[in-house]
């Protein structure tokens, strides 16, 4: 089984709008092996959810998609064109962020799971409902026989998300895409849900794409992590090296900017200045250059190619952090007091950080 389960090559998604074309996803590439979890982290607007929705064939018709998505030797975009509905929901399923809006409020939980089983697997009603009860039990819902007859509003947020997970697992998918599955729940519930997903993944040798803005979740739960910025994957590595030896200045800056539980209180944070760029008619330059402490002239002139070993540690940067070249660029900027992108740096503040 050398072939990865999922390969994504040069995926681009554009949305025409009245203000211009939004380049939401730009040249995204990654592989996912069977039984592995890849985390996609990024801020709002970085293209992580659009990437997921492209895989799930959930984008609006107006979206212009380019690139190749192969799943176990089958071209996913071709399946979409042929209207093969039984691919999504059986082979590849998705869990969404907000369990309140991804469940139908006027349908009993059991019926919603049973619906999936009846449509995709052709079960009759009775069998579908009894299987729903088993699924609810498997995802750790107490009194499953009672819960199948309840409506979503009768359940807490954590239980609702478990119902959504049960639904996604109903047809034994080989790939589960979880888009911010725990953002709407409390930390204690988050831990239980992530533990559950971990167990299910191991038990079924399922692959998972975990989309999150929480770096801690990505670090703890993924084999590999891809960092997205302005529609591109700017860095990708196994989660250990990504967090301990990051190369892209954006990853580096993100890690420095979050408050950490092991720092004493009132530790001064090191924020990323500015904000993410507009995705309409972006200039031909590294999208992060205006906020980057390492930026040099070439960063404003050409978009850096992805370099490094694909599948090991790859990144798209002219002056990567934690390298000699990058440190020299940073030092040059500090000496000048500003970057090529016009960002002012304060040498004193740098020394303190």
């Amino acid at each position: 089984m050398a072939e990865p389960l999922l390969t994504v090559r040069d995926l681009s998604v554009r949305f025409p709008t009245t203000r211009g074309v939004v380049q939401a996803v730009n040249g995204v590439e990654f592989d996912l092996e069977e039984g592995q979890t890849i985390g996609i982290v990024g801020e709002s607007g970085s293209g992580k959810s659009v990437t997921a929705k492209t895989l799930m064939n959930l984008l609006p018709r107006t979206a212009e998609i380019d690139g190749e998505v192969m799943f176990d030797g089958r071209d996913v975009r071709e399946l979409a064109a042929k209207g093969e509905d039984h691919f999504w929901g059986v082979q590849m399923t998705m869990v969404f962020q907000d369990p309140m809006t991804s469940l139908n409020p006027v349908k009993r939980c059991g019926e919603q799971i049973a619906e999936t089983l009846r449509y995709h697997m052709g079960h009759d009603k009775k069998k579908a409902i009894s299987e729903s009860i088993d699924l609810l039990e498997r995802v750790g819902i107490p009194e499953p026989a009672k819960r199948v007859a309840q409506y979503p509003h009768e359940l807490s947020g954590g239980l609702r998300q478990r119902v959504v997970i049960a639904m996604a697992l109903a047809c034994q998918p080989r790939l589960l895409i979880a888009d911010e599955p725990t953002t709407a729940v409390d930390v204690t519930v988050q831990k239980l849900l992530l533990d559950l997903l971990d167990d299910l993944r191991k038990e079924r040798r399922m692959s998972m794409i975990l989309i999150t803005h929480d770096l801690g979740v990505a670090r703890g739960r993924c084999d590999e992590v891809a960092v997205m910025y302005a529609g591109r994957i700017v860095e990708r590595a196994d989660s250990h090296s990504l967090f301990s030896d990051s190369r892209h200045p954006y990853t580096d800056a993100l890690l420095r900017s979050i408050p950490r539980i092991d720092q004493p209180s009132h530790t001064r944070l090191d924020p990323i200045p500015g904000r993410p760029p507009e995705l309409i008619n972006p200039p031909v330059q590294c999208a992060y250059a205006p906020r980057c402490r390492f930026a040099q002239r070439s960063c404003l002139e050409e978009i850096p190619e992805v370099s490094g070993v694909v599948g090991m540690h790859s990144f798209a940067c002219h002056y990567p952090a934690n390298t000699e070249r990058g440190e020299a660029a940073l030092q040059a900027n500090l000496d000048r007091g500003e970057t090529a992108g016009g960002l002012h740096l304060h040498a004193a503040a740098e020394g303190a950080s």
Partner: protein, 333 residues
């Protein structure tokens, strides 16, 4: 009355806000009440930042809103500069408003979308007119400058700003009243991580520059630790544990505090990860458990926990815990 004890109240001259036995209840239906906050006592010294942390439904926002009387207070007192805010009415209550200002979770929906941000910031000053002294364009420019929004964008409307900038504008609006206490209710929860740090640093700067006392509410344990001097951990309308920020995270004593610290994606080194596996669901605040409210999920619960409500007790220094069986911690020397 169910009380969690007055032990954490300090007898210090610089205490600015003193909340004693605060009870907030909301009627539901004909007979039931939601016991949102059931007897919380704490104080905040001048220039201090008090963090309130807990999961959704624990009553942390209700505490904040009750202090500035956005909710009715059922019982208890809120002493601020010699006055009990809990019983103030009419003009007297109105006069207390500028001193206690609030910023909210959703920065965009807390600004009027149809008004220019300059007008949003200056409205309070205009309402208070002569009492506040100087209202001028210059003052608004200064405020906008202080929070890092270019005053030349003052004529724009909120939708033309990003979430982070809207939160800055919300902070400027609160600062315009020259408040003594700034209540921040999940001020960075809706912001992206890269912007979160900017706003947290800004709050620290404004605290120093304007001599503020902060009440900071968040469900994010790392964020609360970063900004706070002292922290209260709440569960189901009660305080579990109060202590200095570093001490509380270093030596958590209440099983619930430990569960929280063990549940975060990168757990605190002071707890076992398995302590995060607390079972069951948050009980209904309409019918909270007798005794200790955490008894339905606590791994250490025994008979006494179902009978008697634990009171806040000192466990050394400025550290208080309401638990019959506080977890012993080894103090490293």
């Amino acid at each position: 009355m169910a009380g969690s004890g007055l032990a954490p109240l300090r007898d210090r001259p610089d205490v600015l806000l003193r909340v004693e036995g605060l009870v907030v209840e909301f009627p539901v239906g004909r007979r039931d009440v939601v016991h949102a906050v059931s007897g919380i006592s704490f104080d905040v010294a001048e220039g201090e930042t008090l963090g309130i942390v807990g999961e959704s439904g624990c009553g942390k926002s209700t505490v904040a809103r009750a202090i500035i009387r956005l909710n009715d207070i059922r019982e208890g007192s809120v002493m601020f500069e010699g006055k009990n805010l809990a019983v103030l009415k009419g003009e007297e209550l109105r006069k207390s408003r500028p001193d206690l200002q609030m910023i909210f979770q959703d920065p965009i929906s807390s600004l009027n979308p149809r008004r220019k941000v300059r007008d949003v910031i200056s409205e309070g000053l205009k309402v208070w007119g002569s009492q506040m002294g100087a209202w001028s364009e210059g003052r608004i420019d200064e405020l906008m400058h202080a929070v890092g929004v270019d005053p030349k964008f003052g004529d724009r409307r909120p939708h033309q700003f990003s979430g982070g900038q809207c939160q800055r504008i919300g902070i400027a609006r609160a600062l315009a009243m020259d408040p003594k206490v700034l209540i921040c209710d999940e001020p960075v929860s809706a912001l992206d991580v890269s912007v979160q740090a900017q706003v947290l640093n800004l709050l620290e700067d404004m605290k120093v520059r304007y001599g503020l006392t902060l009440l900071f509410i968040s469900h994010d344990l790392a964020v609360v630790k970063n900004v706070s001097d002292r922290i209260i951990v709440m569960y189901l309308g009660k305080a579990c544990e109060i202590g200095a920020a570093d001490e509380l995270y270093e030596h958590p004593r209440h099983p619930y505090t430990r569960a929280l610290l063990a549940s975060i994606p990168e757990p605190a080194p002071t707890v076992e990860v398995s302590e995060g596996d607390i079972e069951g669901e948050l009980p209904s605040p309409i019918n909270p458990p007798k005794g200790c409210r955490f008894n339905t999920r606590c791994p250490h619960a025994d008979e006494i926990c179902y009978e008697d409500e634990p009171q806040m007790e000192a466990v050394g220094g400025d550290h208080f815990v309401a638990c019959h069986h506080p977890v012993a911690v080894s103090i490293d020397v």
